[in-house]
Symmetry: C2
Subunit: 129 residues, 2 copies
Amino acid sequence: MILHHSGRATAGRIGILATLLAEQKAITHREIEQRLPQSLQLDRVTLYRTLEWLVENGLIHKITSDDRVWRYHANHESHSHQHAHFKCTGCAQVICLDSLPTEQSWPLPTGYRFQEIELTVKGLCANCC
Amino acid sequence: MILHHSGRATAGRIGILATLLAEQKAITHREIEQRLPQSLQLDRVTLYRTLEWLVENGLIHKITSDDRVWRYHANHESHSHQHAHFKCTGCAQVICLDSLPTEQSWPLPTGYRFQEIELTVKGLCANCC
DNA sequence: ACAATGACGCAACATTGTTGCATTTGTATC
DNA sequence: GATACAAATGCAACAATGTTGCGTCATTGT
């Protein structure tokens, strides 16, 4: 586990990162809480702060969604830094897609500056079809 | 005002729709409240329900955002049904972009069914540059 | 003008996330 | 290994946004 970042390698951080690494899809704060082993029961606030720290240190990324809930996913190498996401409208699961969301070929009004693109494809996953 | 939909043409609905039509950008529930004339002070809940009704009847659309706040915008003809959005990371304003977010050329895993695409470009608006 | 049904207002609640502060714990240093 | 300091944690309270239930009011078709 590479935790040579600006902070301490605490049990909570390691456990949370391990939980996210073990998961194929992006999961919510609540789902992370449920998946943590009993030996590692953390406070809600600590979990929020730990996730924030993991995001800041580039170990995970968080995904916005239309249900106002952040979902978190470990930064696997297989996915490029910028990638699109898929959300199932049936079961609300979110996965990361490989394809990059095209270059900045989006015509912005004059004077506007491009920074980042956020793309979510919605549909039904194999289970919900 | 074309309110020949499944419901009544109440002062609240007309006023809210007029407020949204007068606005170039997509605005939040709170911003709508502030812009309503003093002659039309609505309950918070009524505003939520009215916005929901306007969305269902295709007169406005709502936009998800990373700050967990819905923004609403009137359905002008100049924008196609499906369109991308731009959010300024400085002042948090959201506008609608004309370009459609490309066709469904997004490689989903096998067994997945495409429904809809949601695209937000982030950057700085002319004022915040 | 009247009745029925939809819209509204109020209160209470739900969910998600944040802040302040005291306590505990990792880590560098001795 | 012991120690001290800063960082991490836990607890309580708060904040923002949105939702539900229910009684009352008002628009609309007749």
